[in-house]
Amino acid sequence: MCTPTTRTREVCTIISNEMLVEQVYEIVIDCPQIVPETKAGQFVNLYCRHKGRLLPRPISVCEIDRLKGYLHLVYAILGEGTREFATYKAGETIEIMGPFGNGFDTNCVSDEHLIVGGGVGTPPMVELCKQLKGKKTIVVGFRDNPYLIDRFSKYGNVHIATDDGSVGFKGNVVALMEQQGFKGPIYACGPTPMLKGIQAYATTYNLEASLSLEERMGCGFGGCVGCVTKVSADTEAGYSYKKVCKDGPVFSAKEVLFS
C-alpha cells in the first residue's frame, strides 16, 4: 500500500520575474522541495491569486537550479492568468504544485540529437539540452523576436527560424530542417501545426521523435481525465485518449494522432 507524501500545493517565494521580450517573462521560484524530483520536460502547476480563477496554469520547467533549489519558468502572456503572473514581484509568493508529467527520455544514446522548439514551446528544451549527452543540433522558431538563444548556444549549434524572417531563416522550423537536412532522434515542443510537421518529417526520414504536447488541464496529476490527446490504439475505433499530464506531456510521434 502506498504511503502518501504530504506533498500538495505549496506557497513558494518568487526570486525574480523579468520580461525576456515583449509578452514573455521568466519567473524564478524558490522551491527546494520540488527541484530534487524534477527533470527535463516536466511541468508544474501555477495557481492564480484571483480566486475567480481556480484551475492550474501548467508551465514547463525551463531550467532547474539544483544548487539553489530554484526553478526557472518562462511563460508568455496568453490570457488572464498569465497576465496576472506578469504583475508579480520578486519577494512575493506564488502557489505551485508539481513536478508533473513523464518528461523527456534523456538516456537515449546518439551521436546527434535534434532539438526543436517553437514559440513558448522553446523553454523546456533548455533543460533538455543540459541533460542530453552527445552532439546537439538546436532548431528554434518564433513568430518574430526570438528569446533564450544565448542559453541554447552553450549546448550546440542554434538555428533560428522566424515567420517574418527578421532573424535567421524565413519560414517555419520544419522548412529549415528540410533545407539543412538535419537528422537524428528528435525532441520537439511547440504549437500543434509545428508538431504535425515534425511528425511527418520523422516519418519521411524514419527518425525517432518525442513530441511534448499541450492540453487544457483540470488537475495536472491524472485525476480528471480532462487533458487528453488522441493516440493510436487497438480499440474498435483504432484510437484512444491518453492523459497529457500523466502519460505525457511527451509522446512518441508514432502514437500521436493529430486531428
Partner: protein
C-alpha cells in the same frame, strides 16, 4: 466525537466521500492523500464496455468553477473489476461505484457484473443521455428515473444510490421517481449544463460545445436542492456541489445531507477531502457537537 454515518445500511467511518469523476479510482490520489481516512471513495463512471470519451478540449475554467466534457471515458466494468477494486481494497474505506449507461440494458449489465464483486455501494448516474429514447437524459423525467432505478435495483448486489441532475424544473419530482423505483439513497447535485466561448477564435472551447459546470459557483443551487429533496423523500442523502471547505460540508449536512461528496476541490488540491474532514471535526469541537448525525437537517 462520533463521525460515522449510515448510508442505506453501509457504515461510513465519516461523512466525507469523493464525488464520482473527481478522484479517478484513487490511484492518482494515493501519492498525496491517505485514502484510509476517507469515508467512502466513489469512483468515476463505469460502463458495461470501454468508453473512449469525448475529444479534447474537455475542460474549461469559468468564474469560480469549471466545465467538463470528459464524456465518461472509462475502461469498462471488466477492467475495473480486475484493476481498480483490488487497488481500493488495500485501503480501509468503503467503495462506491458510479454506473454509466446509455440504455437501461447497459446500466443493468454493469450492476449485474458488480453484484458478486467486493464493493459497498452503487451510484446510478442518470444524467447520461439515454440513446434509446433519443438522447434525453433519464434524469429529467420522473417516470424514466423510476423505470431505470427499478431495473437496476432488481439485479443490484449492493445498496443503490441514485444521482440526480440539477438541470430540471422540479428536482423533487425526480427524487420521488427514484424513491418509487426503489432507490436506497439519493446523491445530488450532478453538474449544471454550461458553456464557454473563445471570443477570439469565435468557437465554443469544449469539443462538445456544452458541458457540466462544477465548483464553488454552483454551491447555492446545490444547497437549495439538497434541502428540497431532503424534505420531499425519506431516503438518506449525499450532498455535493462546490464543497471547498469543512464549513461548506456542514452547510450541506444542516440542509439535510447525511453525507457529503467532495468533487472539484480534489482536482484543485488532491488533499482537499482530508483537509475538509479535519475542518468538519474542528467545527464540531468548537460547537460542542458530539455526533455529526445530530445536525443532519437541523435547518428547517
Amino acid at each position: 466525537m462520533k463521525l460515522n454515518v449510515n448510508i442505506a445500511g453501509v457504515e461510513l467511518k465519516n461523512p466525507i466521500m469523493t464525488a464520482s469523476g473527481t478522484f479517478g479510482s484513487g490511484k492518482d490520489f494515493a501519492p498525496y492523500v491517505d485514502i484510509n481516512q476517507i469515508g467512502c471513495v466513489v469512483v468515476k463512471g463505469v460502463a458495461s464496455t470501454e468508453w473512449l470519451g469525448n475529444p479534447p478540449p474537455r475542460i474549461v475554467e469559468t468564474y469560480g468553477g469549471m466545465i467538463n466534457a470528459v464524456g465518461l471515458q472509462n475502461p469498462g466494468v471488466e477492467t475495473f473489476c480486475k484493476e481498480d477494486i483490488p487497488f481500493l481494497r488495500q485501503f480501509d474505506t468503503k467503495i462506491g461505484v458510479n454506473l454509466a449507461g446509455k440504455t437501461i440494458e447497459e446500466y443493468v449489465a454493469v450492476a449485474e457484473r458488480l453484484a458478486s464483486e467486493d464493493v459497498d455501494l452503487l451510484e446510478l448516474n442518470i444524467s447520461c443521455p439515454n440513446v434509446k429514447e433519443g438522447g434525453v437524459a433519464f434524469g429529467v423525467d420522473p417516470t424514466m428515473a423510476c423505470k431505470v432505478t427499478e431495473a437496476v435495483k432488481k439485479v443490484a448486489g449492493q445498496p443503490l444510490i441514485v444521482k440526480l441532475s440539477p438541470n430540471v424544473t422540479d428536482i423533487t419530482e425526480i427524487a420521488r421517481g427514484a424513491e418509487a423505483g426503489g432507490a436506497d439513497a439519493l446523491s445530488l447535485i450532478n453538474t449544471l449544463i454550461g458553456a464557454k466561448i473563445d471570443i477570439h477564435k469565435r468557437q465554443f472551447i469544449l469539443s462538445t460545445k456544452q458541458g457540466g459546470l462544477s465548483g464553488p459557483a454552483i454551491k447555492p443551487v446545490a444547497v437549495r436542492m439538497v434541502y428540497q429533496v431532503a424534505n420531499a423523500v425519506q431516503l438518506p442523502i449525499i450532498g455535493m456541489g462546490g464543497i471547498m471547505t469543512g464549513e461548506d460540508a456542514i452547510e450541506f449536512i444542516m440542509a439535510g445531507a447525511n453525507a457529503v461528496a467532495v468533487g472539484t476541490a480534489n482536482l484543485l488540491d488532491p488533499t482537499a477531502s482530508i483537509r475538509i474532514l479535519h475542518e468538519v471535526k474542528t467545527f464540531m469541537r468548537n460547537k460542542g457537537i458530539e455526533d455529526i448525525n445530530e445536525i443532519v437537517g437541523v435547518v428547517k
